[in-house]
Symmetry: C2
Subunit: 141 residues, 2 copies
DNA sequence: GTAACTGCAAACGCTTTGCACTCCC
DNA sequence: GGGAGTGCAAAGCGTTTGCAGTTAC
């Protein structure tokens, strides 16, 4: 999503277009590793030194409201933000909590089947699979 | 799981068998609504007035270690405890956060397919589907 | 007897809130 | 100019930790 699209989206939904909103939105929408608020903060503070964590949380809520991102809560207490709201599998490392998306026809097929089986309209979904990633395995050796 | 089985499980894994451990374990293992620590606390404090939340958290960690339960983190900050560790779908209400399990052949089949597709050993999984439950829909009318 | 467990309270960490200041529109 | 948005700091809240007293074995 480029500046122009975001600009229109915010304006049409009654949100003001601010430098911070654009920066945070572009940052999260471009990433596939589902960063935490802290990661976003660290990733942007060099370019936007006055940016605060509070603003990041508020912007993330706005983006969720607009349906652009999904929140993924984890047991260790943090929330990760996922810009992919279509059915996919989050491959999560049980050691470093790295996440990446996996998509395939298997998942699409499963989703159509399960939706017709359940007989109600879904408002979203979350599929996780947990395993230790290769990097973490190496570190233990 | 009855007292006898839990007794053996704890003893064989080097954990002492205490009244609190038995009570908390039986409580969580018998429920399908994935209660929070607070819910477990409220559910047991009448029968065990001196029981503390700290003990509940410690016991839940022990049960996780033993592979009897899974932790499900949510965006609103709480953790829910799921005694069903086999592949299933958590049907989650977006309004009251009520959860129930849904199992079917579709899910089993999907699981076998995805595991063979991914080519690594999984340490667990979590499948959620979000929608507003009937009760919450009624309340809004 | 002693090591593990419990209960309590204080500490923690992530997220939210309140409010004065700022900046879109 | 006015109201939404930002930045900062304080508050909130579920969970964890530390420790003295207790209990299983």
């Amino acid at each position: 999503m480029d500046d122009e699209e975001l600009f229109v989206l915010f304006r049409d939904n009654g949100y003001k277009v601010t430098t911070q909103r654009l920066a945070i939105s572009k940052f999260i929408l471009a990433r596939e590793d589902h960063p935490s608020a802290e990661k976003i903060y660290k990733g942007l503070k060099t370019d936007y030194p006055t940016l605060s964590l509070g603003t990041i949380y508020k912007t993330l809520h706005t983006l969720k409201e607009l349906g652009l991102i999904q929140e993924l809560g984890f047991e260790e207490g943090s929330i990760r933000y996922d810009p992919n709201t279509s059915p996919h599998l989050n491959v999560v490392c049980t050691s470093c909590y790295k996440i990446y998306d996996y998509k395939s026809k298997t998942i699409e097929d499963f989703w159509s089947l399960i939706v017709s089986e359940l007989k109600f309209k879904s408002e979203g979904q979350r599929f996780d699979i947990y395993h230790e990633c290769d990097e973490c395995k190496k570190l233990k050796k």
